[in-house]
């Protein structure tokens, strides 16, 4: 991984987070300054490097994984790490390292898409709640409360069981669960803007509500949305990994960290720790990377 950190100046963020930063550029001119500050933070660079590593695995994993992640070698099943299998093999003799590398794909497709979906819907809803207030605010506010009363994972699988599991279902369900939570944050940010002069000016100029919301308020609450996005991305990794561990993610034999852990953890008691520990560490490292990035962005924006 040293080759990735060697040139921190060009290390990009993950695709989704990079996009969110870029959006701020034309309206606020804070993006270049933000970037410079971020690139000076070691925590950000470490997080970005780990995230980039997994993005590379997700996209090109198939071409550099040492083995075919689906190839079964029943004669060398449950082999301990060492020799040609650095991370050992699973009960079907599949190479654990290859499955960890290729298994990055689903979680790295599902989590950003779900978070983007939740952020877009939540932002639109939050803008409307904060700007119009009144009945809309009241009704959506109660729905937010009710959604908060149920753990995300439990609502998710209530809906996934009803709709039938698939990648698309997972993205939509997680995105929808995040919507009210993000709406609440955006609403709070809008409320602090609502009485500022530039909005009165815009209203006096006769601008339409939609224009005021999206052209005037949105650029000013973007930093809050950016932080919320990265925070939710961390939760999305949590939720999606958990759902795939519980069997509501991708179907076997496709490599997937959560699903592989679920399939192999009975082997722990027989001492086959490598089959579950390595995918578990992969999830932990991805979560930590997202958090390091989130923490850096929060620090930079609050500074």
């Amino acid at each position: 991984m040293t080759d990735i950190t060697a040139d921190p100046g060009s290390a990009p963020l993950g695709p989704a987070a990079g996009g969110a930063v870029a959006v701020a550029a034309p309206t606020q001119r804070v993006a270049p300054a933000l970037w410079r500050l971020l690139l000076r933070r070691p925590t950000f660079l470490v997080g970005a490097a780990i995230l980039l590593f997994w993005v590379v695995c997700a996209i090109f994993g198939h071409s550099f994984a040492p083995f075919n992640p689906l190839a079964q070698q029943l004669l060398s099943s449950n082999a301990a790490p060492g020799g040609s299998h650095w991370f050992g093999t699973d009960p079907l003799g599949r190479d654990v390292l290859s499955r960890v590398i290729v298994g990055a794909r689903d979680i790295l497709v599902i989590t950003p898409l779900a978070t983007v979906l939740g952020t877009i819907l939540g932002t639109a809803l939050g803008l409307a709640m904060g700007y119009f207030g009144g009945l809309l605010d009241l009704v959506v506010g109660r729905i937010v409360e009710a959604v908060l009363a149920l753990p995300a994972v439990i609502i998710a699988f209530l809906f996934i069981v009803a709709l039938g599991p698939s990648t698309t279902t997972l993205i939509i369900v997680v995105g929808f669960i995040f919507t009210p939570l993000i709406a609440r944050t955006v609403r709070a940010a809008v409320l602090t803007e609502r009485h500022l002069d530039y909005l009165s000016a815009a209203r006096l100029l006769g601008e339409k509500p939609a224009r005021v919301m999206f052209a005037e308020i949105l650029p000013n609450v973007l930093p809050a949305i950016l932080v919320e996005f990265t925070v939710r991305l961390g939760y999305a990794v949590f939720a999606v990994a958990t759902l795939s561990f519980l069997g509501f993610g991708v179907a076997p034999p496709t490599p997937d960290w959560g699903a592989d852990i679920a399939a192999d953890y009975p082997g722990l008691l027989a001492g086959y720790w490598w089959q579950t520990l390595f995918p578990a560490l992969a999830i932990a490292s991805l979560v930590t990377a997202v958090n390091l990035i989130t923490d850096s962005i929060e620090q930079v924006l609050n500074a």
Partner: protein, 318 residues
């Protein structure tokens, strides 16, 4: 004061009503044809129709909702398709098991989180603070099954000091039950630690910057006394709210932990019901979780009012 409490109670009932609508929608409307969903695509049309009639899903939606929610008020959560018996005893037994596990997690995490948060606040901006904050945040988002597996490997498989299943055998003593619950409780502790520490940190920093803290320091009180008498008493109030709101997430975590450690709690019950498409059991489990969460939040509100005289006065003006 009374109006404040009445308003809280009203909002609570409203929240629960919306929760019940969400559960009803997901459990009874989204699956389309529950008979088909339960029996699978290859079942005969006649048996699907028979099951639908037995489940009562051919009736109008409003009738179905009213009869479901009416039953709930009488403690009748419907009939489990899997067990062909009333759902309620299963939910009750599972809930009691989960409460044991959750209580143990809380007993460990609450003091730990508060101490961590206060230390972070006292060293705000320095390395200790960054380490506690980032560790807390990371632990909070590492799924319980990940930390659970790492713990099983270390303590159960390598060191062999703790049992790796949550359920002690039948007739096991309290101490043995307790030992079995330690390992499952730790992943829950990890997830909650970050939130509690974060709130305790924020509350302490606010109290440290307050006028009364400055006065206490300037009048020459020892630092330890200022922290104990003036800072902690004020900083810990918001933490109580967070602890209550985390109850819901704790139960979410129970699904995973109870599955991983094979413990017969409410999380495991919901998970198995979801796998078996046992919608009555699933709805009952999720609804119970919503009720527990709302009650915990209400309890936290009442505790806050009891502990903070300013809120009592403020509330009467509300």
């Amino acid at each position: 004061m009374a109006t404040f409490l009445l308003r809280r109670l009203g909002l609570m009932i409203l929240t629960l009503w919306i929760v019940s609508l969400i559960v009803f929608f997901a459990g009874q409307i989204l699956p389309g044809d529950p008979g088909r969903a339960i029996l699978g695509p290859f079942a005969a049309k006649s048996s699907v129709d028979a099951l639908d009639t037995q489940l009562g899903v051919n009736r109008p939606l409003l009738t179905r909702y009213l009869s479901w929610i009416g039953g709930v008020f009488h403690g009748d959560f419907g009939t489990s398709y899997t067990y062909r018996a009333a759902v309620e005893p299963f939910v009750r037994a599972a809930l009691i098991n989960s409460v044991k596990l959750a209580l143990l997690a809380f007993v460990i995490v609450v003091p730990l989180g508060i101490i961590g948060g206060v230390i972070a606040a006292l060293y705000a901006g320095r390395a200790v603070d960054r380490i506690i904050s980032v560790t807390g945040l990371s632990l909070a988002t590492v799924p319980e099954f990940v930390s659970g597996i790492v713990l099983i490997v270390i303590f159960g498989v390598e060191l062999k000091v703790l049992p790796v299943t949550a359920a002690a055998g039948a007739g096991a003593g309290d101490l043995s039950q307790f030992r079995h619950l330690i390992l499952p409780a730790i992943p829950l502790v990890f997830v909650l630690f970050g939130y509690i520490a974060r709130m305790a940190r924020a509350g302490t920093i606010e109290a440290l910057n307050s006028d009364y803290a400055r006065t206490a320091i300037l009048k020459g009180l020892p630092r330890a006394t200022v922290i104990r008498r003036h800072i902690l008493r004020n900083s810990l109030l918001p933490t109580i709210t967070v602890i209550a709101t985390q109850t819901g997430y704790l139960i979410g975590g129970l699904v995973v932990v109870e599955t991983l450690f094979n413990y017969q709690g409410i999380g495991n019950l919901i998970f198995k019901a979801a796998q078996a498409k046992d919608f009555a059991m699933l709805e009952a489990g999720v609804l119970v979780i919503g009720v527990v969460y709302v009650l915990a939040t209400l309890a936290a509100d009442l505790l806050l009012i009891a502990l903070n005289p300013r809120l009592r006065i403020g509330a009467s003006h509300d």
